[in-house]
């Protein structure tokens, strides 16, 4: 055990943990939204995220940027990142809806047992990741350098690089916007109504299938935003990147209370921090062990997660 590493590196570990946690949180929102409405774990969500990581790389390469390109100017970089976010979010939103329409809606129409949904969820996950694997020849792709690496904020041991700042800002903006959307808009009211009681909601004139499609779209958009941020942080992607990050994000959603939007955000950030601190003390080979151990311990005492399950109960 190396507590020195934790103490010396505490500020840096906190910042990088928050950044990774923000990415987990954005992906976790997709799991939690779908679970809140359908009581279904959408395993294909991790691979929707993976498609987003490629969407960003394709966008950049369309403008002639690959791993070997020189770093663009700050203004140019911000423009390219914004564009990549739009493309990746739309791509992810499209694939998330495609999964719903092909893998889940036909089963709902036939009143399939829950096990069948689980199987199609896993099936859709494999189709997406293996399809991308075959399509890209299972190669690994480097991400072009975008933002400068020198820290812009430097206070004591605490420093923030442009990438860390933009990841945190983008994540917070996306989460606040989503929270507002679900709590304050007519569509959001529809989502909450279906989450509370889908049959009664339908009797009240809510189009259930449209609400469900909307939920998948929003989850996909969030995953797309996370994918761009993850690309820039991890600096490479390949067809199977979704698996681990999806597992972590799902754990984050459970940690915060699955079905609860704020819980997913909290769970993601907590998991990012715990993993980082744990890796510093016990070694990075214990990273996932610690992350999931914390999950189990927490669920022992709070089976519904930190904030409980409450997408339906959230009131405007």
């Amino acid at each position: 055990m190396q507590f020195n590493d934790l103490i010396n590196g505490f500020p840096v570990l906190t910042v990088t943990g928050l950044t990774q946690g923000a990415i987990y949180a954005l992906v976790a929102l997709g799991y939690t939204l779908v679970y809140g409405v359908l009581r279904l774990i959408n395993f294909a969500h991790s691979d929707v995220f993976m498609i987003g990581t490629f969407g960003a790389i394709w966008t950049w390469s369309a403008f002639g940027f690959d791993a070997n390109s020189p770093r663009p100017s700050l203004g140019e970089a911000l423009g390219l990142i914004a564009l990549a976010i739009v493309v990746a979010a739309l791509l992810c939103g499209f694939f998330a809806m495609l999964v719903e329409v092909t893998a889940y809606r036909p089963l709902r129409a036939r009143n399939a047992p829950p096990l069948a949904f689980l199987i199609t969820a896993i099936g859709a996950s494999f189709v997406l990741s293996e399809g991308m694997g075959a399509f890209t020849n299972r190669r690994q792709f480097g991400v072009p350098a975008m933002l400068p690496t020198d820290p812009v904020v430097n206070l004591g041991g605490w420093s923030l690089t442009p990438l860390q700042i933009s990841t945190l800002v983008v994540a917070v903006v996306a989460m606040v916007a989503l929270d507002w959307f679900v709590r304050r808009t007519r569509f959001g009211r529809g989502i909450r109504a279906v989450a509370q009681d889908s049959n009664t909601a339908a009797l009240m004139g809510v189009n259930k299938n449209r609400v469900i499609l909307l939920v998948f779209l929003i989850g996909g958009l969030m995953a797309g935003v996370a994918a761009v941020m993850s690309d820039m942080k991890a600096a490479s992607t390949r067809f199977n990147v979704g698996f681990l990050i999806g597992l972590k994000a799902f754990a984050a959603a459970v940690l915060g209370g699955i079905g609860n939007l704020r819980g997913a955000a909290l769970g993601g950030i907590l998991l990012g921090l715990v993993e980082n601190y744990g890796s510093a003390v016990f070694g990075t080979n214990f990273r996932d062990f610690i992350g999931f151990l914390v999950l189990i311990l927490l669920l022992m005492f709070r089976p519904t997660g930190l904030l409980g399950e409450s997408l339906g109960r959230a009131r405007a």
Partner: protein, 397 residues
């Protein structure tokens, strides 16, 4: 009531399906066993046997394919040259694409030994997949020569069929340490990926560097986020880092180190000595990274190999291409002399002792399948302007 009946029905259904699946499994297993017996049978002696196959086992797709594809190209070339001279009795190359994954190797190995035409195997290219596949080859008596699996313990498993066309990590590890010492670092950080190859190599480097190594950590397969390790490296004050592992993790790790403004020298083994390490990391960040390899530069290979390869593929030969070429030629030489069974080729290898056309290394194996230590040479390569440039042959400590 209705629900109960439905659930009872479902139970019966599941049981029925389960029963069918079980029966299919048992029958499939029996069929596989039968095939196995047929596969290891030998052909009639004396009669000339044609259309034999030499297997090529390794990551031909996936993130680590850059380490293996040049060898496959070279083996293809050796076969083509052989067939041009032996038009009446050709040999073909059968590829087994493991993607570098041990979990896929067992099945591939089984299908290789079940094909009675496959009498020899080039590979498996990596150490992890060798550990899964070689027991199957040993059982079937299928001789293998690996062009690049360097984990030392592979020769300690009692596999008579195992041969190594290069030096192992016992030679590469100390050489990498000698190179790092030459950089005069104040402190060295060592990271490995916990794979059979990476951990073994990193241990050898640690042993040889001794107290220079101030800290170490372990990465995991498929890891994308290296925040914690990067923090440790930057705060440790290390000016050199040794990474035992493959490009798949080394590339994002190096890039994240550079993002955190770590300026030290990144040294890896032959696991990062491939073109993907350069293209995925990007020229700016990979510049100055060092890879050691128990292989002389393929571009400086002897004879007509480099010119032939250039002509065939319109590119200079990549990592391990020369070794793969030579070991394929050894198998072809055996087949050319009329050795047409696995056992005959195995016996042929045991008494072999000639220099390879491309590497110039004399292929003479110990009874454990290790190359004669005097033949092993380790080189250092430095990433310069998007190319791996041969730096120097590392002197033996």
């Amino acid at each position: 009531m209705d629900a109960e009946r439905a659930s009872a029905l479902r139970q019966i259904f599941v049981r029925a399906i389960g029963g069918v699946a079980l029966a299919a499994l048992v029958m499939g297993g029996a069929a596989a066993c039968k095939q196995d017996e047929g596969g290891s049978g030998s052909n009639d002696a004396g009669a000339k046997v044609c259309d034999l196959k030499i297997g090529f086992f390794g990551a031909l797709s996936g993130a680590d394919a850059g380490l293996v594809t040049p060898g496959k190209q070279a083996a293809d070339m050796a076969i083509k040259q052989y067939n041009a001279e032996h038009g009446d009795c050709k040999v073909s190359l059968q590829e087994y694409d493991s993607q570098g994954k041990p979990e896929l190797s067992g099945g591939l190995a089984t299908s290789a030994v079940n094909d009675a035409k496959v009498v020899a195997m080039v590979g498996p290219a990596f150490s992890g997949e060798s550990e899964t596949a070689n027991p199957t080859f040993q059982q079937a008596g299928l001789p293998v020569i690996s062009q690049s699996a360097t984990r030392p313990s592979l020769s300690e498993q009692g596999w008579a069929i195992f041969h190594r066309g290069v030096g192992n990590d016992f030679s590469q590890g100390p050489a990498a340490a000698t190179y790092i010492k030459g950089l005069n670092p104040a402190k060295v950080f060592v990271v490995d990926d916990q794979s059979a190859y990476g951990a073994g190599l990193a241990d050898e480097v640690k042993k040889a560097l001794g107290p220079l190594v101030t800290a170490s950590d372990k990465a995991t397969d498929n890891q994308q986020d290296f925040s914690a390790i990067v923090t440790k490296v930057t705060s440790s004050g290390a000016t050199a880092l040794f990474y035992g592992g493959y490009t798949e993790e080394a590339s994002p790790f190096l890039k994240q180190l550079r993002q955190a403004n770590w300026k030290g020298t990144f040294v890896g083994g032959d696991g990062i000595y491939d073109a993907n390490m350069l293209s995925v990391t990007g020229n700016a960040d990979v510049e100055g990274a060092v890879a050691t390899c128990p292989c002389a530069p393929a571009t400086e290979a002897k004879g007509t190999f480099v010119a032939d390869f250039q002509k065939e593929y319109n590119a200079p030969p990549g990592v391990y291409a020369d070794v793969a070429y030579d070991v394929t030629k050894i198998f072809l030489e055996a087949i050319g002399e009329g050795k047409s069974t696995r056992a005959d080729i195995q016996a042929f290898l045991t008494s072999y002792g000639k220099p390879g056309a491309a590497t110039g290394v004399t292929y003479k194996w110990t009874d454990k399948g290790e190359l004669d230590p005097a033949q092993v040479r380790v080189w250092a390569y430095v990433a310069k302007n998007g190319q791996w440039a041969p730096d120097k042959e590392i002197p033996k400590a």
